[in-house]
């Protein structure tokens, strides 16, 4: 299942109503740009040596892998740079009881 995410909830809600692939229940919303940004900010605080600094998530394209586990293509800019470049990475992000957690991606390059 795939959907290009918008910040608005409308498309997400629509997607929740679609027939879903095995392992993806209707109760699971795909992570939004804001959710991914927050998960990245948390991960950066926890493991600053692992993650690049000052990244701003610009867009995301997510799909569910299995219950609570998602993979997303994210487009992001580097706030330290003024070259206008848009970077892309594929991340793993899980929905845990205590919230969203960045499992892979957005590492130092």
């Amino acid at each position: 299942m795939r959907a290009r995410l918008l910040d608005g909830a409308a498309l997400t809600a629509l997607l929740l109503c679609l027939p879903l692939v095995a392992g993806c229940s209707v109760s699971e919303a795909l992570p939004s740009i804001a959710v991914i940004q927050a998960a990245y900010d948390d991960a950066k605080l926890e493991e600053p040596e692992r993650h690049d600094d000052q990244l701003h998530i610009e867009d995301a394209d997510c799909r569910a892998l299995e219950a609570g586990k998602f993979t997303c293509q994210v487009g992001f800019t580097d706030k330290r740079s003024s070259n206008g470049r848009l970077y892309f990475d594929v991340i793993g992000i899980d929905k845990l009881e205590r919230g969203w957690r960045l499992m892979s991606g957005l590492c130092r390059r």
């Binding site: 394209d61 993979t71 293509q73 070259n83 470049r85 848009l86 594929v90 793993g92 991606g105």
Partner: protein
């Protein structure tokens, strides 16, 4: 955009069984042509049965191509699926065009790629891919918020999400995308006319993807751009047909599985007694504990095994040949069985740049600036029909084509004096490779008959306009100093802003590049750890140092020979003031016992001959020899050097290749050995070129 793909090809021939398939007529590759200066296509990398790899019905990885769907679908319409894409397609462009490609990854996972066990490379099992337009002098831009496309940039990988996500230990340098990546490649107005090609460049599995079938060709302009320059175009040249030949090879295990991690010893170099004729394939052999018996190593031309090439024109044909094999080198010849010798052909272009050799360039000089690619022989005398040649013609009876090289030449039937002549009835020739050995620890690529050529008498214009040699007014000379091209690229070059640690090479200095096969890997500097033993000599690497005007290493510049590290650029340089081309001399030193094939992205270069090295002639005069490359063989060392220290002690004799590279394009790109077993193994380095301050 016009799609002549299906209608013009008799692909039904491709479905014939093995014995009949050998009689298939060679057809041109499917053509996708720009319209109104735009070619907007989708390339889907996917698995597909390859009907021409008879007697097997093997599944290869191919590029399916169609016009980009207006509904953003990531599949091509079913109407084009009857094409055998394995042979490779041709993207037909002209200067000033924009090539827009949406590359879609629908490849299956790879089973056990060799380098997936290398630290950080676990993601390779997902079969990521990307695209490189080999030899083209185009920008390598990154996406921005306002233009999300890439130029000819290899630092992006596209994953097929159906294959899963990278494991947590994977470390991918560069961008990573899901499903597809959009490329937008502008062809500069002053881009040379010639032959180029496109292929994946995913480090670690480039060999696997190309040997399974992923490659096609690109043409810019037309051969008449360099056979008819200066306004006059003799009727002979106007009418001469052009043929494109894409050489590929694929190894198939007993059964039908493709061995995408190719084994160079799959076949014996020459046929054994009792073997069937090597017409497009050779039989597998026993290699240690592995058996390839009953398997086949298949060599195709435009996807066909040992096709027939009918030359019906009385003028002969211009052949444009691409070595699109991953690792195979060809010792290519056109053998005339009646005369029991190889035919003469006249070279008109190499690596996408037409030759513009000044008159009186000697064959010895051609040999030096052509490296081991060329073994020049005297062209037959006479220039009837052309009123004299403006340049020195270059003729050969054999060509060494290492992976990625392209050659364009004139083929016509010739009599015993090598003059063009009406072919006798039933005249034939065999396009063949007699095999090529790449050194004492290198590979012995097999001898194979690739195609059967038939010369039909037709209406040969006896004495009426068929010259002994073509008049080539090429672009090699002007591209040795590509000032106009730099002007075309001014805008994109500016985007790569100057960086403090990128400095021009000091006047009179050179860069020296080392090539070696590694038995041990040096530890990270400062780690205090001992060298790491490798299990087998399968790691490849490059090293670097700067040389001063006397040829001595500049202290502090040496970087030992290590495998590719995308995160650590080896070289950083700036364009000349005004972002004009900056010329650098590089010395290529191979200290291993195996040949390599140096390729620089985004650049052409010329070889520096002895007389220029010793100062007998100036670089300006040398550039008039007008022969450029984008890949060049670097011969193996004689003797044994395990490392650079051994080289400095003189434990081996090396055969340096000196090149002058006019860097013209800013960006992040790579130079590497184009034997893809070596490139995937680490014989590659990253270079940064930045705009002038």
């Amino acid at each position: 955009m016009t799609f002549r793909t299906v209608a013009t090809f008799a692909w039904t021939l491709a479905w014939l069984p093995s014995s009949a398939a050998s009689a298939a007529l060679l057809a041109e590759p499917p053509v996708f042509e720009s319209k109104n200066h735009v070619l907007d296509i989708m390339i889907v990398a996917k698995a597909a049965e390859v009907p021409t790899l008879t007697p097997f019905q093997s599944v290869g990885w191919i590029y399916e191509i169609c016009a980009r769907p207006k509904n953003n679908a990531l599949s091509c319409p079913p109407s084009v699926k009857s094409v055998n894409w394995y042979g490779g397609s041709r993207l037909k462009l002209t200067q000033g065009d924009t090539l827009k490609i949406r590359l879609v990854n629908k490849l299956p996972p790879i089973f056990g790629p060799k380098h997936a066990n290398d630290p950080g490379f676990g993601y390779l099992v997902l079969n990521p891919t990307n695209l490189h337009t080999h030899g083209m002098l185009v920008d390598a831009h990154y996406p921005t918020l306002t233009n999300k496309t890439y130029g000819d940039n290899v630092f992006v990988l596209t994953l097929n999400p159906a294959n899963g996500k990278p494991d947590s230990k994977s470390h991918i340098h560069g961008d990573v995308r899901l499903n597809f990546t959009d490329y937008e490649i502008k062809i500069p107005k002053n881009h040379p006319s010639g032959l180029f090609w496109f292929h994946p460049h995913a480090h670690g599995i480039a060999l696997n993807q190309i040997s399974a079938g992923m490659a096609g060709i690109i043409t810019i302009g037309d051969v008449r751009d360099y056979l008819c320059r200066g306004g006059s175009c003799p009727r002979f040249v106007q009418d001469i047909p052009t043929r494109h030949l894409i050489l590929k090879d694929t190894q198939i295990l007993p059964g039908r599985t493709i061995l995408d991690q190719q084994e160079p010893q799959f076949c014996h170099h020459d046929p054994d007694v009792g073997d069937p004729p090597r017409q497009g394939w050779c039989p597998g052999q026993l290699v240690g504990d592995f058996t390839y018996l009953n398997g086949r190593w298949i060599f195709t031309v435009n996807g066909l095994q040992y096709p027939t090439v009918p030359i019906n024109s009385p003028l002969g044909e211009i052949w444009r040949i691409t070595n699109a094999s991953a690792s195979v080198s060809y010792d290519l010849q056109l053998f005339n069985p009646a005369q029991k010798r190889n035919m003469i052909v006249q070279i008109v272009a190499i690596d996408g740049v037409s030759i513009s050799a000044q008159p009186a360039t000697s064959n010895q000089q051609f040999k030096e600036i052509g490296a081991t690619k060329l073994d020049p022989v005297p062209c037959p005398p006479g220039t009837a029909g052309h009123g004299g040649l403006v340049g020195q013609p270059l003729c050969v009876r054999r060509l060494i084509m290492m992976p990625s090289s392209r050659v364009e030449f004139w083929v016509t039937y010739r009599d015993v004096h090598d003059n063009p002549a009406p072919p006798p009835s039933g005249a034939t020739a065999i396009l063949r490779t007699t095999g090529f050995e790449t050194g004492p620890v290198g590979d012995a690529w097999p001898s194979i008959d690739l195609a059967r050529v038939e010369f039909h008498a037709g209406a040969f214009a006896r004495g009426g306009g068929v010259p002994a040699a073509l008049n080539v007014e090429g672009q090699g000379r002007e591209l040795a100093n590509p000032v106009k091209l730099a002007s075309d690229l001014a805008q994109t070059n500016k985007a790569f802003r100057p960086e403090a640690d990128c400095k021009p090479l000091r006047p009179g200095h050179k860069r020296r590049i080392f090539f070696n096969i590694l038995l041990t890997l040096p530890p990270k500097p400062g780690s205090g750890k001992p060298p790491i033993e490798t299990i087998e000599p399968s790691a490849f690497g490059m090293g670097y140092e700067e040389l001063d005007e006397k040829g001595n290493p500049v202290p502090g510049t040496f970087q030992d020979i290590v495998p590719f590290d995308a995160g650590t650029p080896t070289v950083c340089l700036t364009l000349a003031p005004g972002n004009k081309p900056v010329k650098e001399q590089w010395e290529l030193i191979n200290i291993s016992g195996e040949d390599h094939n140096f390729h620089m992205h985004q650049s052409k270069f010329r070889l520096v001959a002895k007389d220029e090295l010793d100062g007998t002639i100036t670089p300006l005069e040398a550039a008039k020899r007008g022969l450029l490359h984008d890949n060049v063989p670097v011969r193996h060392a004689d003797g044994t050097c395990d490392n650079v220290a051994d080289f400095r002690k003189g434990k081996c004799v090396v055969h340096p290749v000196h090149v002058e590279i006019p860097f013209t394009i800013a960006g992040d790109y790579v130079y590497h050995c184009h034997i893809l077993e070596h490139e995937d193994g680490g014989m590659m380095a990253r270079i940064r070129v930045r705009a002038a301050p």
